[in-house]
Symmetry: C2
Subunit: 118 residues, 2 copies
DNA sequence: CACAACTACTTGACATAACAAAGTAGATGT
DNA sequence: ACATCTACTTTGTTATGTCAAGTAGTTGTG
């Protein structure tokens, strides 16, 4: 059961969502993700996502000095990125609703979040 | 926004869950998934998953004639598979809870399912 | 001043899984 | 004979997360 496969696609949306809440930089995103329960994510996982989001035009990049280390790259979301984030949320919501139904609506009255999905 | 990436990992769990509900075969699983909202899944997507689940020992395979076509391969879940399915559900639940929090708990009181995630 | 420790980003090689497209083949009906 | 539906296989492509290693600026300790 490879957890990393489940992350695919989700991670990019989560990172875009974090940037949407305010300008931030890689290292901070990493600690934010850690705080949110996504532990053990390496830098080699995060930075390629940022590059990708930038290439797609979903975020803007601005370089600025750090008060305690090498140069930071600050990212902020673009209009294009905001639109994409909303689309992503819709797709994510639909996808998980479908999966929830198959996974948690068996013969028995199993439940996922406490609300009645079934 | 590539939907197929979001499917990764989820699909395997869903298919295992469908098999857990009773012995079935590929073509039937495909129509079941379609019924559950996973439309447009090709055979080239489904069958490799079944092979994988079989290799991992999560399902058993039995060949039998079809009343209306070529031979079918009937699959049923193993004890090992049942255990794995439960583990998968846990991992899936945790993962989506984390993602839900990041995606739907912004400054505004957005909501996902109607229950208070935030 | 040398060195460790923390911050911060980069790069390259790799594994996994979904997907498209094409193929093989049995059964049925016209 | 031919189309159609059922049913499974195979091959190559692509996207994305992951590991490992590297580069580099800043601060504090001995």
């Amino acid at each position: 059961m490879d957890e990393s496969q489940l992350l695919k696609g989700i991670l990019e949306g989560c990172i875009l969502s974090i940037i949407a809440k305010g300008e931030t930089y890689g290292y901070e995103i990493l600690s934010q993700l850690e705080e949110d329960g996504f532990e053990g994510l390496g830098e080699g996982t995060l930075y390629p996502v940022l590059t990708r989001l930038d290439k797609k035009g979903y975020i803007l990049c601005r370089k600025a000095k750090s008060p305690l280390g090498p140069i930071r790259k600050y990212y902020s979301i673009t209009e294009n990125g905001k639109e994409n984030l909303e689309k992503f949320k819709e797709v994510y919501k639909k996808m998980t609703q479908k999966a929830d139904k198959i996974l948690f609506c068996n013969d028995l009255n199993e439940e996922k979040g406490g609300d009645g999905i079934c």
